[in-house]
């Protein structure tokens, strides 16, 4: 089942396939069959030897590998108000808490996270593994390390702060998260994590005055193997309100002069005798809980062994110790007495520590209570609770609605005065539309006098702070100077340009152009030129549309005609038939045809001639001559009978006949045609092509 991002699922426990330990696997094989004589054979006949192998399931026992730790909370070495949070550790190997048996119940984890203050237990590091469990107890199996850490704690303290046997199973669980959720995954690989929670809230301690003080706690992940029964079976009496522990505190060890003399003189003294005079408040140095008491044996033993070489006056019964040695001896005597007492009263238990870290709890405030009680306001708001009048010499705070505060100001001349100051943090929105601050080159440029006669030093202070901060970092000064140097090169180039341009850009005698204005002036003049004479500057404007060009008739007119003048209506049929058909029609067709504005003469000469030539060649001439209507209207050669005629010197001759005579080289016919046409070259051509005469009846013979 997959887990949605942002969600996770909790499992009470995850059983490992095999608990850690040494195993022997035995493979046996039984065979059966039927023998050659029909008898049945069994294992005794077909024996197969068992195969055995030894397998060791390893699991961390004394040391948790660092890569198995995904997170510890509270963070190691951190300081914070952790009082309402249970310390916890997240382990990568999901089955780790259940991989060893402590109580013949696979659901009971063998790990517990305990939290203790410095004086409640002692963490001893880098000890041989054999010494890491309570003396007398041995753990079966191999140890993965040779030295390990252990927690030395009295049995009473085990009963006080360790979880009960019923608690331990509740303090370890497994968590399944979405493998894409990096926040919950913490760097795990399979999305399953094991979590061990402590049973104790790291509450802050109080000092004798009742104030809460930062308290250092150590969290240790301990191995309960073999010592599960040490834990309480059931929870002890309970209470609703938990009293905060009293912080161990230092106090002076006070002795009477008599005691001091006894110690320094090396004489035996009996603390019972002097009990009224000696205050052993230093007992709190070790354990605040049980009452310290001084064992006679320890004191006498300690004092009866003078430090060698420290004997100041051993000849007589005088001083045997220096003052310092005396004090040290008394302190050690006290401490030893307490330790001896503790050792006598309580059995020390040792638990292997797989991992430990420390953190410091400060105060009891919760984040929520702190946030809700915050005094919120704009900067410049006076505190809700005015400060106590602890400094009467201090004048009351002057704060203006503009955010300025009045401060004492010692001027350069030494006068004590008051000035206004406002930092960069305003209690009102800044004026975003106002002009920016003009560049100042010295802080004095930014000193301002306000109407009340005081100076406002806000901006000049800012200037000076910026200057000092820049001077404070040599790399910044170097960068500034380097940059300025490169800028100098650019500035020098500009100056050279200015010199060069001075003569060039003198427009008038009284009008000199600064180099910086050249670009502006050039641009302005260019724009003026363009506006004043756009044709000259930019050329003619492009026309919106253009008429098409007049097509020229070049080449063979028949071909062009047949191609339909290039239009899509090109003629694809038999042109001969068309021309013959044309010839069959009354000549008015040609006469009235719109031929595009040219004169008929020109048309005949330039265009129609070849057509008619072809027609004549096809004996159209006869048809033409035989037509009833005048060939070319009133301008043509007419005959009264309607037969096309041409007047030759010997009288009117039908056109066909005249043409025949022209072809035959009759000079009279030629002359007549020449008179009509006006150009004999055509006639020659026509004569050669046997068609000269018929096409030229366009003019009345003179």
């Amino acid at each position: 089942m997959s887990i949605d991002p942002g969600h996770f699922q909790l499992h009470a426990h995850l059983d490992p396939p095999l608990a850690a330990g040494t195993y022997r696997f035995t493979a046996s094989h039984e065979m059966a069959g039927t023998g050659a004589n029909g008898e049945s054979l069994d294992g005794s006949d077909l024996g197969v030897a068992d195969a055995s192998m030894h397998v060791e399931i390893t699991s961390p026992r004394y040391l948790l590998p660092p890569d198995q730790v995904l997170s510890t909370f509270p963070p190691a070495e951190s300081q914070g108000a952790w009082g309402s949070r249970l310390p916890q550790i997240v382990i990568k190997r999901r089955t780790l808490p259940w991989e060893r048996d402590v109580a013949d119940d696979s659901t009971i984890p063998w790990l517990a996270l305990v939290v203790f203050q410095e004086h409640e237990a002692e963490l001893r590091t880098a000890q041989p593994v054999a010494e890491c469990v309570t003396p007398g107890l041995t753990l079966d199996g191999a140890a993965e390390v040779s030295t390990a850490n252990y927690l030395a704690i009295s049995e009473a303290m085990v009963r006080t702060i360790f979880p009960t046997r019923k608690d331990v199973p509740l303090l370890a669980h497994a968590r399944e998260v979405d493998i894409n959720d990096t926040e919950l995954m913490l760097g795990d690989d399979d999305g399953f994590l094991a979590v061990v929670i402590a049973n104790r809230l790291p509450l802050p301690a109080t000092d004798p005055s009742g104030a809460q003080v930062p308290t250092k706690y150590t969290a240790a992940l301990i191995n309960l193997e073999g010592q599960f029964d040490t834990l309480l079976a059931e929870s002890p009496p309970r209470q609703l309100t938990c009293a905060l522990a009293t912080a161990p505190h230092l106090s002076p060890l006070t002795v009477t002069h008599a005691t001091y003399d006894h110690v320094s003189m090396g004489t035996v003294y009996n603390p019972r005798v002097t009990a009224g005079g000696i205050k052993l408040q230093g007992a709190n140095l070790v354990a605040p809980g049980p009452q310290a008491f001084v064992a006679d044996a320890a004191v006498t033993a300690s004092i009866a062994t003078p430090a060698s070489g420290a004997v100041a006056n051993s000849g007589a019964r005088g001083w045997t110790r220096s003052t310092r040695q005396t004090i040290d001896a008394m302190y050690h005597a006290t401490v030893n007495a307490t330790n001896v007492a503790g050792a006598l009263l309580q059995t020390e238990r040792r638990f292997p520590v797989l991992l430990h870290w420390s953190f410091t709890t400060t105060g009891s405030l919760t984040f929520r209570s702190l946030m809700e009680d915050l005094d919120s306001g704009l900067l410049g708001t006076m505190p809700r609770d005015p400060a106590p009048e602890s400094a009467p010499a201090r004048p009351p705070l002057e704060a203006l609605e503009t955010g300025h505060v009045g401060l004492t100001h010692r001027t350069r001349s030494g006068d004590e005065t008051r000035a206004w100051y406002r930092g960069p943090l305003l209690p009102h929105p800044g004026d975003e539309r106002a002009d920016r601050l003009p560049l100042a080159h010295a802080s004095d440029q930014l000193r301002m006098y306000v109407p009340d006669g005081r100076e406002d030093l806000s901006l000049s202070s800012a200037f000076e702070i910026g200057r000092l901060l820049a001077l404070n970092t040599p790399s910044t000064v170097a960068a500034l100077l380097r940059w300025r140097q490169t800028r100098y090169i650019a500035a020098r180039a500009t100056t050279i340009w200015a010199d060069l341009l001075e003569g060039v850009l003198r427009l008038d005698d009284d009008l000199t152009i600064l180099p910086g204005d050249v670009g502006y002036l050039l641009g302005r003049h260019l724009a003026a030129d363009i506006v004043g004479n756009p044709v000259g500057a930019l050329g003619e404007p492009l026309q919106l549309f253009r008429p098409g060009s007049v097509p020229e008739l070049t080449g063979d007119p028949v071909g062009i005609l047949s191609a339909g003048f290039g239009t899509e209506f090109s003629f694809r049929g038999d042109l001969e038939a068309v021309v013959l058909d044309l010839a069959d029609r009354p000549p008015v067709v040609i006469h009235e045809a719109d031929i595009g504005g040219g004169t008929l003469t020109g048309l005949v000469r330039d265009t129609v001639t070849p057509v008619l030539d072809g027609a004549l060649d096809l004996r159209v001439r006869d048809t033409l001559v035989g037509a009833d209507q005048p060939v070319f209207g009133s301008g043509g050669v007419l005959s009264s009978s309607g037969v096309p005629t041409i007047i030759l010197p010997d009288g009117p001759v039908p056109l066909a006949e005249a043409a025949a005579r022209l072809r035959d080289g009759d000079p009279a016919a030629r002359e007549a045609f020449a008179a009509l046409v006006g150009d004999t070259s055509d006639l020659d051509h026509a004569a050669g092509a046997s068609a000269g005469s018929t096409k030229s009846p366009t003019r009345e013979a003179p």
Binding site: P75, A81, L86, N199, L240, M371, D375, G377, G519
Partner: protein, 323 residues
Amino acid sequence: MQLHTTTLIHDLPLTLASQVAEPLIAAVDDEDTAMPADLRSWLVSLRLLNGVPFANLVADTELLPMESIRWFYLDRRWTDALVQGALSVGTVTTDDRVDLSAAYPAIRAELDTEERNVRRLAGTARFGGQVGAVSGFILRSAAVAGWPGLHVRAFSVDPDEADDARYADDDPRRLRLLRLERLAPGVLFCLIDGIPEVVHLEEPRQGVQFGVDMEIDGSGATAVVPPRDRDSFEYLNEDPVPVMFRSLPGASGVIDIEQLEKDLAELHGTGAQDSLDSAEYALQMIRFPWRQVWGDDESAQYASVFKATVSYINWATIAHDGG
């Protein structure tokens, strides 16, 4: 020097154009623009008041009492003066100052832009435009020392979601933080690019946390756990269950889990009826980070938010007397 006038006139606009320092938006951080990158980054950090003595930010301790949060707007004239002071280093001659005066507008424009990119996440697009109003707050509280790594979120609009909704890092309604820094163990300084409508201050999240709701009164601590439904993870409509502690001397803070189990078993839905298991116990003890939402208190009058000891009227009187 021989001058060819035509060539000169032809090259003139190009030459002039190349000498105008124009503010460019650098495509990459290290590209040189109006000023070298190292100088620019230093000036940008100066603009965000890095290195400015705290006494110059808050001129009087009474302005920032214990357990207070003070909101402010950033004075652009002040930061401009700061930059001007830094730029003034080494301006010895009049030439230097003329040169600086010519370059200053481009420098300021570039810093205005770069200021917004100072906390840009690697790989995200650069921000164009210039910083408008910058605001922020100073928080002086035990919360800053006790909860290192506070989350601060600023919104340009009041989000419609519930106060405990989740927001993506790139939510368009979120305003960027230009600076978020602990100036002292108990003082948090935050600069916001814009003027927020709503600001969230959230307890740092460090994975899933287990714990109780605790109250410490005097020298004693009491704690409760609001019960949750085993299946839906919702809070049950029940009174919080008191958490009992061991009453042995020296056992401060040790929770009596057995009693807690018994108390939870009386409530239907907690999963404790059929004996609590470790998953159910963990589920009951999960605590979420607290989120404090700061918004506009519409009922508050300006005068009640900011009380000046010297009002304008008095000030005018002072001015009159002084003059």
